[in-house]
């Protein structure tokens, strides 16, 4: 970061601190073993990572997921998105200095993590989706717990507004800081809430062919301003959107099998030979759009797994947002772009 006195003149991100070579290791593992591997980069958003890879493998296999599995996938992905947004808001609050918001959002996130543990058994890394379907069905009594948890989160959001959003200190620090306008955001290829906060109405859930978003009638949330405050508010709006999606998904949950016949049972999964070919899939993670490009040479190990994560594509947002601002604005913009280093370095 080059400074002229207090004003930032130039920025060159120095990443690679958490580069653990996921793509190189994926070439030494079987197709099913790659699932826990690609979840580790963004551990707080692992269901969306998992669904991205699994969609690519399903395209290679030419397998269609039964309806009930699609709905269960949507529920877990949306729950994970709420937890990921609460994590981002918590870190953002901590960077601005209000550690109360850090504690509040992490405390509320525990409710969602508890729900996901109820459904899948794990706190953070679920590996719940397999090529062809979902590992387990909804536990009984899950609907009431889910409804209770979601109502709790809905009652908590107004308290966040009162303490954090309507408070003048936050507005002075966030409004008009780190502005990325519409054309610039599209040109540098931002993704996720950062893109929608600059007024671009694009969400991979609209165009992606995964989950039950088309049947649930999903519409993205956008804000025109494009500054740090808009990015924060888009995340809060998306939490409400996700709560609505989950409730609708639970109401319209179809009956039926949860796994495709050809890939039922762990034995078939492990010894699965994927036919030769390439598949590209894109999925909306908590932080943005995640794309997978899986190439298979017919063996039981992938030839090449390419994974471009949202934080890696948001990395370029720092230069446009920060140049010209003061040194004190760096934490504000860093938190608002919700940059998660392990996800960017893979």
């Amino acid at each position: 970061m080059e400074l002229d006195g207090d004003v930032i003149v130039g920025i060159r991100p120095d990443i690679g601190w958490v580069h653990r070579a996921v793509e190189k290791i994926a070439e030494t593992k079987k197709f099913v073993q790659v699932i826990p591997l690609i979840e580790r980069p963004s551990i707080i958003d692992s269901a969306n990572m998992n669904v991205g890879y699994v969609r690519a493998v399903e395209k290679l296999l030419g397998v269609e997921v039964p309806d009930r599995a699609r709905y269960i996938r949507t529920i877990l992905c949306e729950l994970n998105r709420i937890a990921s947004h609460l994590y981002g808001i918590g870190i953002f609050g901590n960077m601005i200095g209000t550690s109360t918001i850090f504690m509040w959002s992490f405390g509320d996130r525990e409710i969602i993590v508890e729900l996901m543990q109820e459904l899948t058994g794990a706190r953070l890394t679920y590996s719940f989706f397999l090529p062809g379907g979902v590992k387990g069905d909804l536990p009984d009594g899950f609907e009431e717990k889910l409804e209770k948890g979601l109502r709790y989160i809905e009652n908590r959001i107004p308290e966040y507004n009162a303490l954090f959003i309507e408070n003048p200190v936050t507005e002075d620090r966030l409004k008009g800081v780190g502005v990325i306008d519409r054309e610039k955001a599209v040109q540098i290829g931002l993704t996720g809430p950062n893109l929608r906060a600059s007024g671009v109405e694009y969400d991979a859930r609209m165009v992606g062919e995964y989950g039950a978003y088309k049947d649930l009638g999903f519409k993205p949330v956008t804000r025109p301003e494009g500054d740090s405050f808009a990015r924060l508010m888009v995340r809060f709006d998306e939490i409400d959107g996700s709560i609505g999606l989950i409730r609708k998904a639970i109401r319209e949950m179809p009956q039926g099998p949860i796994m495709h016949e050809r890939t039922k049972g762990m034995a078939r999964q492990v010894l699965m030979k994927v036919p030769e070919g390439e598949a590209f899939s894109r999925v909306e993670c908590g932080r943005g759009e995640l794309t997978f490009f899986v190439v298979s040479k017919g063996g039981d190990k992938p030839y090449r797994v390419r994974m471009v994560t949202p934080s890696f594509r948001n990395l370029i947002g720092f230069e446009t947002a920060l140049v010209g601002h003061r040194l004190a604005d760096v934490p504000t913009v860093y938190g608002s772009l919700d940059y998660f280093p392990p996800e960017a370095d893979r």
């Binding site: 550690s99 109360t100 405390g107």
Partner: protein
Amino acid sequence: MSALVAPWPISLILEPEVFIPLVYPGLVVLTLTLLGIIWLERKLTAKVQRRYGPLYVARKLGGAAQPMADGIKFVFSEQIIPRNTDKLVFIFGPLLLFTFSILPVIGIPLSPGYTAIASDISLLIVVALVVIAPIVLLMVAWGSNNKFSLIGGLRTGT
């Protein structure tokens, strides 16, 4: 009164001349209130953040001994003096900073009958002593010979 002359050391402590600065509004009570305030502040921030504060240190008192535990830890931890700093200023800076921030107390009348320096210009003394603290702060910032701490010192000093 004289029948109750206590043995020699206790009657010395009970003398008002010694008792006031040393015990009541003086050192002992001051440190106790200091520890109490630190403990209360940590408990209150925890209560605002919907969690317990320090708890298992002295379970029955609700973690009251936490400041003492921290103090003991600092007493026994290693003093690191970096090589390229100005040794003298680096060591005496914090000491002076603490003394100059406590020093104005001598001008303040602790109880109706008792002040350390009983004079009619004691307000002037207090104001004069309070002014010195930022200068010592800059000395501390200058002592550690590191541009970030210098910037920090300038920002807090002015």
